[in-house]
């Protein structure tokens, strides 16, 4: 751009993009910003990424930095850990969290524990990107939400990226973090569009976000489900119930303070997640509210999660298994004694 352009044509303040593009831009920014950063994973190069997030990056950055790997999840994650311990800033991609189970050993037994086992000598500044979520009829080996498995483990940070701002603002601080960070992305949101500022804001990795302020009830959620919850909140508003919607965003560590402050205002809480309800993040949030904010409550905390079933293929069964606007509305109304 020439100087005249810059003065006569002010740069637009916002641009419109898909969530997929937002993820891609943040990867590009990371590659541009730090030459230690490289990407490795299955089909991220020639294929363009299984969700097309990395489409074109191989041509832009070349095969040294956009590394297509064999189908070897243990080696992808383990190698990234080793490279991270030795001066590089790898971003490893595991197509979906369903396959990340193969790499779980490396994530838990190496990434999460090396700093501690080595008495503080070896930190692991690795970033692992993966995806979660149902809604595309991919059945029981491609649809699950395993965020709680990771959030269970001390030594790793877990962040869920379900908005444009988070997709653009989390990767940079994640790469600055001296310890392992797992980033969850959501395939069913990839084509979602939004108007975003040209220059992304950095996001505080440990914070939750209030997506909709409200005064009657706190609905705590994370991941793609927050968009369903926001739709439910609008439906509730039409019914005179003003729901505050909190996106946990940071699944480990949990930003309790934001949740407690909200509950102190609303006196009611519902937790909604797409992972199975039993031993889910909702259970953890509910327990913490019970421990720390019990006397603020006017009603027991309610939880909605995935039905206790491996996700089925048939659409009507899949829809019935995961939280929907109607089930969220019904549960909130029940908590408001309006059921």
């Amino acid at each position: 751009m020439t100087a005249t352009d810059a003065t006569t044509r002010p740069t637009p303040e916002t641009v419109r993009m898909t969530l997929r593009e937002a993820h891609k831009q943040s990867l590009r920014a990371a590659l541009d910003h730090d030459e230690r950063v490289f990407l490795m994973g299955e089909d991220i190069g020639a294929y363009g990424g299984c969700f097309a997030v990395t489409m074109g990056l191989l041509d832009e950055y070349g095969p040294e930095r956009i590394r297509d790997t064999p189908l070897s999840e243990i080696a992808i994650v383990g190698t990234a850990i080793g490279a991270a311990m030795n001066g590089m800033r790898p971003i490893a991609e595991i197509m979906t969290c369903n396959f990340s189970l193969l790499a779980m050993d490396q994530i838990i037994n190496n990434a999460a524990t090396l700093l501690h086992m080595s008495g503080g000598q070896f930190n692991v500044p690795v970033v692992i990107r993966t995806t979660a979520g149902a809604g595309r009829q991919l059945a029981a080996q491609h649809s699950h939400s395993f965020e709680p498995y990771f959030a269970h483990v001390p030594g790793i940070r877990v962040v869920s990226l379900a908005t444009h701002a988070d997709a653009r603002g989390v990767l940079a601080p994640a790469l600055e973090d001296p310890d392992p960070v797992i980033l969850f992305e959501y395939p069913r949101l990839m084509t979602m569009e939004a108007e975003v500022p040209v220059d992304p804001d950095i996001v505080d990795l440990s914070s939750a976000a209030i997506r909709r302020p409200g005064s009657d009830v706190t609905v705590v959620t994370y991941g793609a489900t927050q968009h369903t919850v926001l739709d439910a909140a609008e439906a509730l508003a039409a019914d005179g119930i003003d729901a505050e919607v909190i996106d946990l965003r940071s699944l480990r560590p949990l930003d309790d303070a934001t949740v407690f402050a909200s509950v102190a205002r609303t006196h009611r809480a519902v937790v909604v997640e797409e992972a199975w309800r039993t031993v889910g993040l909702g259970a953890e949030v509910a327990a913490r509210i019970a421990e720390e904010a019990f006397y603020d409550l006017d009603a027991p905390v309610a939880r909605i999660g995935c039905a206790e079933v491996p996700l089925p293929y048939a659409k009507h069964l899949e829809d019935a298994a995961i939280p929907q606007v109607e089930s969220i509305v019904a549960e909130v109304r029940r908590v408001m004694h309006r059921g």
Binding site: E42, D43, G45, A46, Y47, G48, C50, D68, T69, P70, L71, S72, E73, I74, N98, F99, L102, R136, Q137, L138, A139, A140, Q141, H142, A307, E308, V309, P310, P312, Y313, A314, K315, H316, L317, A320, A321
Partner: protein, 337 residues
């Protein structure tokens, strides 16, 4: 690299090819092809959803392998398993009902295209975790051996599965314990967008398998007669107690990896060259040359396949959905001990 040698693709007739058997092989391949072509239409009509991985181009392998095993031998497969399921003897009607997510589907609509299961034909499923079915197959074979069953387990997987640790751990164990497994590697040269030559430092897959002290052969997977013959030889040895065999069936998928794949990574000339080796016209030509088939005969086979698929679609469309109240069934067993 994965371009087949140019020139007309001709099958060699084995000395005593039975006409009816040759026609049966042709029928099975045509049924698989027509089934999947109909699936593409149903996918476009949004009646089939999720992933749909087509086997088009690879039909000779399922057909030849299943022709060489016995009815009560077991098969373990992947998400690209429509061909295996049909050749194993599962009805196209109940498979189609599964594709449509209906209660009469082989997996009651819970599995879909990637997860066909059928206890009656000992079809232990489409597994959609790459290499996820391989240890399972070794276990099935272990149980057969421990119980004194004279049965073989065929384990299908793509060459991409050879990248995974599960393959190496499993084939070693099968060899060590001398188990009745046929490792049936369908090498279509690509795992999604990853060419074998970009994924494996050693691209000779049979050599890798041989390093586990397993007899390992490479066969032309576009030649159904060669597939059957090699498989028969392997199965005879396995049933005879000689332990596992690995066969690499060299093939090619004519379509994209799945309906989501824009197929940007393959050279169209390479795809076109492989289509010259289409296993169906290859067998039809041979049978014609031998005087076992004419144009009318081929047209009849195709019409019969189409009619069968029509019936399957009608069955699937009219099958009900699983009642919502049953959502949480089949998570734990319902039989009381």
């Amino acid at each position: 690299m994965s371009r087949p040698s140019p020139g007309r693709f001709r099958l060699q007739a084995p000395p005593n090819l039975d006409a009816e058997h040759g026609l049966d092989l042709l029928r099975t391949m045509v049924r698989i092809r027509r089934f999947e072509e109909r699936c593409v239409e149903l996918y476009s009509a949004a009646k089939i959803r999720g992933f749909l991985h087509l086997y088009i181009g690879e039909e000779a392998i399922a057909t030849g392998v299943m022709a060489a095993i016995d009815l009560d031998d077991a098969a373990v497969s992947t998400y690209r398993e429509h061909g295996h399921a049909i050749a194993k003897g599962i009805g196209t009607d109940v498979i189609m009902a599964e594709m449509l997510g209906k209660v009469d589907g082989v997996s009651r609509g819970r599995g879909g295209s990637m997860h066909l299961f059928d206890a009656a034909t000992r079809f232990y499923g489409g597994n959609a975790i790459v290499a996820g079915g391989i240890p399972l197959a070794v276990g099935l074979a272990l149980a057969d051996k421990l119980q004194g069953h004279d049965r073989v387990t065929v384990c299908f997987f793509g060459e991409g599965a050879v990248d995974e640790g599960a393959f190496h751990e499993s084939i070693n164990l099968a060899s060590l314990w001398n188990l009745p497994v046929l490792f049936a590697c369908e090498n279509n040269h690509y795992s999604m967008g990853m060419a074998l030559t970009r994924a494996e430092a050693q691209t000779d897959l049979a050599l890798k398998a041989a390093s586990y002290a397993v007899p390992a052969w490479r066969v032309d997977g576009m030649d159904v007669l060669a597939v059957e013959e090699a498989t028969r030889k392997a199965v005879t040895a396995i049933r005879g107690g000689e332990g596992p065999v690995f066969i690499e069936y060299e093939t090619y998928r004519f379509r994209a990896h799945s309906m989501y794949d824009p197929d940007l990574y393959r050279d169209p000339d390479e795809v076109a060259a492989w289509k010259q080796r289409d296993p169906i016209p290859a067998l039809a030509s041979l049978l014609t040359e031998l005087g076992h088939l004419d144009e009318d005969g081929l047209a009849t086979i195709e019409a019969e396949a189409d009619a069968e698929i029509d019936v399957a679609v009608t069955f699937a469309e009219s099958s009900p959905l699983e009642p919502l109240d049953d959502l949480e069934r089949f998570v734990v067993s319902e039989v009381t001990p």
